[in-house]
Amino acid sequence: MNLLAFNLPFVVLLPFIGAIFAAWSARFNRLAAAWVSGFIALSALVTLIPSAYQVFSGQTILQSWDWIPAIGLYFSFRLDGLALLFALLILVIGILVIFYARYYLAAKDSMGRFFAYLLMFMGSMLGIVLSENLIQLVVFWELTSITSFLLISYWQHRKEARQGARMALAITGAGGLALLAGVLLLGNVVGSYQLTDVLASGNLVRNSPLYLPILGLILLGVFTKSAQFPFHFWLPHAMAAPTPVSAYLHSATMVKAGIFLLARFFPILSGTPEWSWLVGGAGMITLIIGAYTAFFKHDLKGLLAYSTISHLGLITLLFGFGTQMAAVAAIFHIINHATFKASLFMVAGIIDHETGSRDMRKLNGLIKYMPHTAFLAIIASAAMAGVPLLNGFLSKEMFFEQAVTASQASHSAWMIPILVTIGGVLSVAYSIRFIHDVFFNGEPINLPKIPHEPPRFMKIPVDLLVIICLAVGIFPNLTVAPLLEIAVAGTLQSAPPHYSLAIWHGLTPALIMSLIALTGGILFYFLRHRLFKFYDQHFRQIDARHFFNIVMNNLFSIANAVTHRFDKGSLQNASAWIVFSALFFTAYGFAIQDTPLFGERPMLPVDAISLMLAIGLMLTSIVLVFIHRQRLLTLIVIGMIGLVLSLTFVKFSAPDLALTQLSIEVVTIILLLLALYFLPQATPKEIGKMRLWRDGILAVLSGVGITLYTLAVLTRDYQTIADYFLANSVTGGGGSNVVNVILVDFRGFDTLGEITVLALAGLGVFAMLQNMKLPAPKNDIEGRLWSNDSHPLIMQTFTRLLLPLMIMVAIFIFLRGHNLPGGGFIAGLIASVALIVQYLSNGIHLTSEHFKVNMNWAIGLGLLIAVTTGLVAMGIGFPFLTSAFTHLNWPIVGEFEVASAIAFDLGVFLVVVGATVMSLVQLGRLSFASHHPKAKEQK
C-alpha cells in the first residue's frame, strides 16, 4: 500500500492521539510529557514531508473518504502550497515551542496537562489548514477556539487568565458560528463543500445574490480569529497564558488561521469593491491602532500583543488590496512575522522567567546580565522594524510598494501610502522601545530576581528562529523562494505573478517610505516621555474590554431575568411549566390542522372482562390521587395497576411484555418498600388550594389530551416496517420469537445501549448509597414499634427449597427466549426475583456468605460479553453485532438451534441481574445498618 495515499489524516490525528500519551506519561516523569510531545510533533512532520515533494513539483494532493455524502460531508484532506506552508509553520514552530516550554514551565505546573492541550491545539490547527471539506474545516476551527481557551486558562488560579480565556472563547466562538453560517451559504451556492469545487466557482459566488452575506459572515469569522478591529481586544487579554502559548497560538499560528482563510478564499471572494472596503478597511484601522497602542504598553507581552495585532492588520490590508502581487507580499509577511514574532515572545518569556517582571519601567540595562539574549532580541526586533538585511525588511518593502500601487487605483486612495508610512513609523518606534527600554537605558529597578542568562537550551529555539530571520533577509532566493512560490500558487490557484526578492531595487518610493519610517520611528521614540504623558491623559481610559463587559453583563442579566421569570427555585413550579408548555404547544399544533381528529379504522369489540378491568384501572388511578398521602397504601395500589397492565399485554398478544411487566412489578414494589422505610410514612397535607387546583386542571387536561391523541392514532390505519422483521426472523435471525430476535439481532445495537443505561443506573445507585447514613424510624405511622424478629423460619425453609426451582425457570425462560416468549431480559428479572427472595428471607449477611458474587462484576461481565459478541462478528468481517446460527443434532436432546445471539442475550441477562439485585441489596444493607449500627461499626 502506498503511504502517500493516506498520510494526511495521520498528520492531523497524530497530535490528538499523542495528547493522550503526553498526559499519561506525565504521571511517571514530568519531563516525559515534553519528550513525548516533541516526538509526536516530529513524527507528524516526518509523515508530512514525503508529500511535500509532490507539492513542490506542482501537484495538489487530495485524500478523501466518505463520511455522510448525502449532506456533502466528506472526511477529506488537501495539501497544496498554501496548506503546506501553514502546516510547516505549525509543526516547525510547534516543535521549537515544545522544546522551549520544557524549560519554561515551573516545577509546580502540570506538564501533562499543558502538553496535552498544546498537542490537541496543534492537531486542530493542522486540521484547519489541511481540510478539503469546508464543514470539516469549521469543526477544526472550533476546536482551536476550545483548545486555545484551555491553554489561556492554563494557570486556572489566576483571575486574569480565566477572564482572558473566557473573552477569547466568547469572541472567537461567536466568530466560528458566523463562519459556519457563511460556509453553509457558500456550500449552498456552489453545490458542494469540497474546496476543489468551491475554488473553481469564483465567478458563480461573486455574482450570486448571497455574495454579500457570505462575505460578511466569513469575514466575521476571520476578523474575530485574527484579532482585527473591532474584535482585536481579546488578544492582549489572552496574554495571560504562559508565554510559550503566546508565542505559538497568539502570534505564529492560531491568529493566522483567520489570515489563512483570507488566503484560502482569496481567489473566489476577492476582487470586488466590498472585499476591498471591508478587508482593506479593517486591516488599515487595525494596523494603525495596533502599532499606536503597542508603543504605549509598559508590559513586555502587551507591547508584543498589540504589535501582533498591527502586523495581522498589515497582512489583512495586503489581502484587501486584492491584487496578485499584494497576495505575494501577504504570504511572505506571514512567514516572516511568524519567525521574528515567535522569537520575540520567547525572549519576553526568558526575561520574565529570569527577572520575575515584564514591566518595562523596571526592566533596564539587561544587556549586562544577559548579553546573548539581548543580541537575539536586537536582531528579531530589527526584523520587526524592517531594517535592511533582515526578513522583515523584504516583506515590508513589498508592502510599501503595494500601498503605492494601490494609491494609483482611485482618486480617494492617495491616503494609503501616508497611512501605511505612519504605521511604519510607529512600528519602528515600538521596536526600538522593546530594545532600548529593556536592554539599555540605565539600571534595573527593584526586580524580584537578579537577572542572569537562561539555561543554554532554552535559547536554542530562539537561536534557530533568529538564524532564519537572517538567512531569509540576506539570501531570500536561496532559502524562502521555493516555498513562497508554491504557497502563492496555492493561494491564487494559478501561476504566481513575476516578482523579485532582491534586497536592492534602486531608489524606489518604497525605499523612501522605509527610510521615512526608520528616521520617523527614532524621532518618535526620543519624544516618548512627552508622548506617554499625552497618552495617559487622553487614551488610557479607552479600553474595548469595558464595552465587552457591558455587553456581556447585559446579556447575563437578560438571561437571568428570563430564567427567574420561570424558575423560582421550586421544582413544582418548573414541572408545572413543563407540563403546561407541552399541553399548550400540542393543543396549538392540533388546532391549526383541519383534518378530522379521528380516523375510519373499525374498533375491536369490547368484552365484559376487559371492560371491568379497564374501569377498575381508571377508578384506581383516580382514587390514587385522593389517597396519595398514605404512602404504603398508594404503593399497594400501584402494584395492582402494574398487574392489570401485564394482563393488558396478555390480552393484546404481547406475552413477552406481560412477563417483563410482571417480574418488574415485583422488583419495583420491593424496592419502593425498602426505600419507604427511610422516608416519612405519610405526606403532609398541602394547604395551598390554588396550587392543588392548578395541578388538578393540568393533570385532567393532560389525561384528556393523551386519550384523544391515542384514539386519534388507534382509529387510523398505518404502514409498519415490521413486515421485514416478521419475514426474516426465522431465516435471518434463527428464531421464531420476533420480539426477541429484534432485541438481540435486528436492533442489537439499541439493546446494547439500553443495557448500558441500565448498568449505569445500577452503578449510580451503588455510588449514591456508599457511606450514606439515614436514621431509621423506631415506630410506624400508627406508633407501633418495628418488629425485631429475626427472619421467619417457615419462609426461610420454603424459599431455600424454591431457589433451585426458580433458577431453573429462569434458565428455561432464557433458553427458549429465541423461539418462544422469554429471553435475557425476562430471565434476568426472574433470576433477580429468586435472589432477592433469598435476601429477604435469610437476611443480607447470611445470603452474602453463601452467595459470593459481586454484582458490580456481573454488570461488567455482562456488558463485556455483549460487546465481545459484536466485536467477534466485526472480526470475521461482518458489521458490528451480526449474529449467526446453526442447527445441532445431539443424542437424546434431538435437533436444536444455536444462535450466536444467545451470547448477546447472556450479556443482557447478566446486566439485568446485576443492576436489579445490586440496587435492592444495597438498599437492604442500608436498612440493616440502620438497625444494627454497632454491627456495622464492628465490621
Binding site: 421550586s570 421544582l571 413544582q572 414541572s575 407540563v579 374498533m603 375491536l604 369489540p605 376487559s610 379497564a614 383516580i622 390514587l624 396519595h628 404512602r631 398508594t634 395497576i641 397492565l645 393488558t648 393484546f652 398478544s653 404481547a654 411484555l657 417483563t660 418488574i664 426505600a675 427511610f678 422516608l679 416519612p680 405519610a682 405526606t683 403532609p684 398541602e686 394547604i687 395541578d695 388538578g696 393540568l698 393533570a699 393532560s702 389525561g703 393523551i706 391515542t710 392514532v713 398505518y718 409498519t720 415490521a722 416478521l726 420476533v738 420480539v739 429484534i742 432485541l743 436492533r747 443506573a761 449510580g764 445507585v765 449514591m768 448509597l769 405511622i781 418462544l820 416468549p821 438498599l923
Partner: protein, 132 residues
C-alpha cells in the same frame, strides 16, 4: 376496545401528572412510575391492538401483532425500573443530606400543614423568651 385503552392511558397520565407535581419526593417517584406505565402502554398501542396473534412465527398463524413496538416497550419497561431505582435512591440521598423529603429541600413549606407525629423528631428548638 380502543376507547377503553385510550381512557386507561388518559387516567394513568392524569394521575401520574398530578402526583409528579407534588411537593414530596415519594409521590413524585410514584407519579413518574405511573407516567412510565402510561407511556409504555401508549407506545405499545402505536402498533394497534390485536387479539390472539402473538408475534411468534407459526406456520398455522397467518397474521401477527406488530413486534416492533413490543420490542421497544420491553426495554422501556426495564429502563423505567432503572430510572425508578435511581430516582428513589436520589430521594433517599436528598433526605440523608438535607434531613427532609421536600423536592426543594425545605423542611416544611409554607403551604403545608404540620405533620409532626409522622416526621422524625426534629431537633429541639431553643425558645426565644426562655431565660434562666
Amino acid at each position: 376496545m380502543e376507547l377503553l385503552v385510550a381512557l386507561s392511558i388518559g387516567a394513568l397520565t392524569a394521575s401520574g401528572v398530578f402526583l409528579t407535581l407534588r411537593a414530596r419526593t415519594f409521590p413524585v417517584v410514584l407519579g413518574l412510575t405511573l407516567l412510565a406505565y402510561a407511556v409504555n402502554l401508549f407506545l405499545f398501542a402505536m402498533g394497534r391492538l390485536t387479539i390472539g396473534l402473538p408475534p411468534i412465527i407459526d406456520p398455522a398463524q397467518g397474521q401477527y401483532a406488530d413486534p416492533l413496538p413490543q420490542a421497544l416497550v420491553l426495554t422501556a419497561i426495564v429502563i423505567a425500573f432503572g430510572m425508578t431505582a435511581f430516582l428513589i435512591v436520589l430521594a433517599l440521598k436528598a433526605r440523608a443530606e438535607l434531613g427532609n423529603d421536600h423536592v426543594d429541600g425545605l423542611n416544611l413549606a409554607k403551604d403545608e400543614a404540620s405533620l409532626d407525629h409522622t416526621l422524625p423528631p426534629r431537633k429541639p428548638q431553643k425558645q426565644a423568651g426562655k431565660t434562666i
